[in-house]
Symmetry: C2
Subunit: 198 residues, 2 copies
DNA sequence: AAGTTTATTGACTCGTCAATCAACAAAAAA
DNA sequence: TTTTTTGTTGATTGACGAGTCAATAAACTT
């Protein structure tokens, strides 16, 4: 039965199965056997292709971020104006895909993982930098030097809104979250630079 | 040795030990034995006072939120103006206490727990409602009807900023986060109500 | 004093799980 | 065709862990 060139196929299946299982259980408390079974192979084979469970988690994390990155890139591709670019990122961040059980489980659990696994923390940092950099491209033509601070804030707001929607009882409302992010932006666009006073 | 009236003392010790251990490991992957040992008793006694590990987690969650609530209440107590009230909440949210390993571990992991344990989700909802309601008291005198939306946004921003600081490589900067939240507010205060357009 | 409630633990049950290994099969290289 | 590389799994190891239970002891009740 051994067809050659199985490695990428098996790894891919394992990554997807890992994400599915994390979404199913809502935690990192998934066994290699569960993952392997869902991916249609023995747990021994999973260990053969990935050295350890942690490696599987990291690969899954990379995969989730790749998906998200692709979604953003796709949306940016059709955006013509700076404003449209920003909106594209916002909309992509609150797409239905990101509210699927698996995606939610992945993000929340990867944040937890980042606390203790340096590699995971680095991946989170990559995501944050990329988000900020994407926002900056759209913001700089609009607000110049203030872009830096606004990108930082908007990035945080996007994460915060995502978290709220995810934890809110009932179904998440991506559109409402997106609108909230837009409001943040318009408020900052309408405001001239000012001193910080209470 | 059995002195009576041990229950509250033991429970308290267990709750604190639970939080400590979650902070230490950065995950909910802590054993009852670890917790019990840190609290200075046998694991059997821990099971005696709390029915299960999940009960310990929920009690720990309540405790964390109680602490945070007290901190906010304390800060609100000395605030005289609406603006000061909002600022008090912001400052309290980014206090050094909230960036301690244990607090960070607690919050992140409780978000994960909320995905699967309804009781945990309810506790998170309580926190979100209370934060919003506290913000509303300060916001209404300032912006009237717009208070609702701004409170929602500011609440999300606070969570998002917290998350960013926590996941950022290097030490978190609570002051910077607080300033970012203030900027959000001043932008909204300076902006008149407007239509939603891109 | 006898009985009850509260405190406490060591030992145990029953289960799980990550990781390893020996062994087998098929394709490719020599 | 022998050898090596790649794919694959069942069985096993070695360890750990949640929750139960019986037993012991001090305090409080009647």
């Amino acid at each position: 039965m051994p067809k050659l060139g199985m490695e990428p196929i098996r790894k891919d299946a394992l990554v997807k199965a890992t994400i599915t299982e994390i979404g199913r259980t809502g935690s990192l408390d998934v066994t290699v056997s569960q993952i392997a079974k869902r991916a249609g192979m023995s747990s021994a084979l999973a260990h053969h292709y990935f050295g350890s469970k942690e490696d599987m988690f990291l690969a899954a994390m990379r995969h989730i971020m790749t998906i998200y990155g692709a979604e953003v890139r796709g949306a940016l591709g059709v955006a013509q104006t700076p404003m449209a670019r920003i909106d594209a990122i916002v909309v992509a961040s609150f797409s239905a895909a990101n509210f699927r059980r698996e995606a939610v489980g992945a993000w929340l659990n990867f944040w937890v993982l980042a606390q203790t696994v340096p590699q995971a923390k680095r991946l989170v940092a990559v995501y944050q930098r990329r988000l900020k950099s994407n926002l900056l491209v759209g913001l700089r033509p609009l607000v110049g030097a203030r872009a830096e601070a606004i990108a930082e804030g908007l990035g945080a707001l996007i994460d915060g809104l995502y978290l709220r929607e995810v934890l809110r009882p009932g179904a998440p409302d991506g559109a409402a979250a997106a609108q909230m992010a837009r409001d943040y932006l318009s408020a900052h666009l309408a405001t001239p630079p000012q001193d910080h006073n209470l």
